[in-house]
């Protein structure tokens, strides 16, 4: 296991290094340069040259990259061109919103998708199976930015059940120690605020969960079906184990590794989908921050956000890898 850990850690560092190179190169492809962006088109050549020298833009690319890398390791990506705040601080402030949305969507997708997949497999070929698998096909084809709008139209505008957007009602006051609205509301000791936070999160999380839910249901059904007819399952039944135990301890347990893999893979989908969901539901998360920064050409924030999200993504995938290396000894031996 230690060898496996060391080799995965080395790969992780290499990938993180690659991520920093990609982001650095992308920002160097920018039309114009940062000095022109900061000073505007009317700046004189002398003032542009002075600023380029101050920012180190007149240095060789390798020197610039080393400065960027050292800054990135210290969480220093410069200041936002829009409000002069440290870019990384803006990213960290927006991250809890995206984290809460992503975790809520993943929890919904797993909590509903795995039981639905198991049920569809157990009822293979019946109307129950069809009633579960047909909507999953629609689910994986759904443009979530459209689904979100339609959900808002139905549940907020027509039925009035849920709020139109945002994280909390206007005027709600509470301390924000974590930035996670449900946790902060619970921390404030006001049950009404917790309920409001849940109501605000429900529609965005359900929208974001659509595609992962469909994928998890499909993979769970598939894995259950391929495990159901194996010899060890027949043996378990032959020795008289109750059916519930055969399903839980023998079929589902062995089907879980590919399911965990798919759940890990959903993270990229969720982080990507969060960008669109945050836009529709006016949530001040990382995705929304980055899109606004791109549109405003606020490159320090784009850089900080890109490196941060990619690093989180890589680290979580590393964690998922470790999880199934622990679950399945064959993986760490290969």
């Amino acid at each position: 296991m230690l060898d496996y850990l060391a080799s995965r850690l080395a790969q992780l560092l290499l990938v993180l290094f690659g991520v920093s190179v990609v982001v650095f190169i992308a920002m160097h492809l920018l039309p114009g340069d940062v000095a022109t962006l900061l000073l505007g088109d009317r700046a004189t050549a002398a003032s542009l040259a002075r600023l380029r020298h101050q920012l180190g833009l007149d240095q060789p690319v390798l020197v610039q990259y080393s400065r960027f890398l050292i800054g990135a390791l210290q969480g220093n990506f410069g200041t936002s061109l829009r409000d002069n705040r440290p870019a990384f601080a803006e990213v960290l402030a927006a991250f809890p919103v995206t984290l809460e949305l992503t975790l809520a969507a993943l929890a919904l997708a797993v909590a509903i998708g795995v039981p639905l997949g198991v049920l569809a497999a157990l009822k293979e070929g019946t109307w129950v199976d069809t009633a579960i698998t047909t909507p999953t096909l629609f689910g994986v084809s759904m443009p979530i930015f459209w689904l979100g709008l339609m959900a808002l139209l139905l549940f907020s505008e027509k039925l009035g059940w849920l709020p139109v957007g945002g994280m909390m009602p206007v005027g709600a006051r509470m301390a924000r120690p974590t930035g996670l609205s449900i946790v902060d509301a619970a921390w404030s000791g006001q049950p009404a605020l917790v309920w409001q936070a849940v109501r605000h999160l429900l529609l965005p999380a359900a929208t974001l969960a659509t595609i992962p839910l469909a994928s998890i249901t499909r993979i769970t059904r598939g894995e259950m079906l391929s495990s159901m007819h194996l010899d060890y399952v027949r043996t378990a039944r032959a020795k008289g184990l109750p059916e519930g135990r055969v399903i839980r301890a023998h079929i589902l347990r062995n089907a879980l590794i590919p399911i965990v893999t798919v759940i890990g893979l959903q993270l990229g989908l969720l982080l990507s989908g969060a960008v669109l969901t945050e836009t529709i539901f006016s949530l001040p998360g990382l995705g929304r921050l980055m899109v606004d920064a791109i549109l405003a050409r606020d490159y320090p924030v784009v850089q900080a956000g890109a490196v941060f999200v990619a690093a989180v993504f890589v680290l979580v995938n590393f964690g998922v890898d470790l999880c199934y290396a622990m679950l399945d000894p064959r993986i760490r031996r290969s």
């Binding site: 690659g18 443009p143 930015f145 709008l149 989908l269 669109l276 980055m290 899109v291 549109l295 999200v309």
Partner: protein, 284 residues
């Protein structure tokens, strides 16, 4: 994936796939989509750019079957013309990913050694980004535009093709017919292009079909965020973004472009699933 999954011959697999009702529905939707792309000027009742402020935000009627937008433009005509943007996204985005990714996979898988190591590390790094984030970084670097959003989506999907083709090639290059060609003195180029590539490409066809739908939804997503097609293009994502501002009062502006995206993606997914089912017997 080190073993070869190429077991069914393409023409036979296509016929078998089309035996499934879901695949026929998928093919029907895709053909309808292509028909719209080809004949949009003949089918569209109005010029998609023509404004008529007198009939702005009109709900669906006989004169405007899908209603009008805030400038009085006919939503049906804009949705029909929008199909062309979706097709363009497939040709540029999916086509670029397929061409570059296949070339990378063929080179890495067949040459092995340092070339393979370098290519696979590039692939690993590109896969280390959540796909839309990578697209955002590329659009940020090149500037928001329809072409740049398509290129960005192309780059995002390239590593997936590279990985798939490399896996196939690793299996095929050990086959007897490749060894025979090598023993007969065939050049590397001839072996790769005449023997390895044709026998590695079946899963690529499946991936290209499934990714076509994904490319449509993702370029539309970038346009929706304001980073792809710009107004007044009738791109479906841009139409949705337009409709978002009016969706509480004029639901039809956003509803129909979204429905069009959903149907096209569904069509490609149904077709791709059926092809995967036939091409790769392990998926059955």
């Amino acid at each position: 994936m080190s073993e070869t999954a190429v077991l069914a011959r393409p023409p036979a697999a296509f016929s078998a796939a089309l035996g499934q009702p879901a695949a026929r529905i998928g093919l029907g939707i895709v053909l309808l989509f292509l028909f719209l792309c080809a004949f949009a000027p003949l089918i569209a009742p109005y010029n998609p750019y023509e404004q008529n402020l007198m009939s702005a935000l009109a709900p669906p009627t006989l004169a405007h079957p899908l209603g009008t937008d805030q400038y009085g433009r006919d939503v049906a005509s804009r949705v029909f013309y929008g199909a062309r943007y979706a097709l363009l996204a497939i040709i540029v985005g999916d086509g670029m990913a397929l061409a570059v990714g296949t070339a990378m996979g063929l080179a890495g898988g067949y040459l092995g050694g340092a070339a393979d190591a370098v290519i696979m590390r590039v692939v690993d790094v590109l896969l280390a980004f959540p796909y839309l984030l990578l697209a955002l970084i590329i659009v940020a670097a090149l500037g928001p535009s329809l072409l740049h959003s398509m290129i960005a989506i192309g780059v995002v999907y390239t590593p997936q093709y590279a990985r798939l083709v490399r896996g196939q090639v690793l299996g095929v290059r050990q086959s007897d017919f490749v060894r025979a060609a090598r023993a007969l003195g065939a050049s590397t180029r001839r072996i790769v292009l005449r023997h390895v590539a044709p026998n590695s490409l079946s899963p690529v066809i499946v991936m290209a079909t499934l990714q076509a739908g994904a490319v449509v939804v993702e370029t539309a997503g970038l346009s929706f965020l304001g980073l792809g097609a710009q107004p007044p293009s009738p791109d479906w994502g841009a139409l949705l973004a337009d409709g978002q501002n009016y969706f509480l009062t004029a639901w039809w502006i956003a509803t129909f472009p979204g429905l069009a995206i959903f149907l096209v993606v569904l069509g490609f997914n149904l077709l791709g699933d059926a092809l995967r089912h036939e091409f790769d017997p392990r998926a059955r």
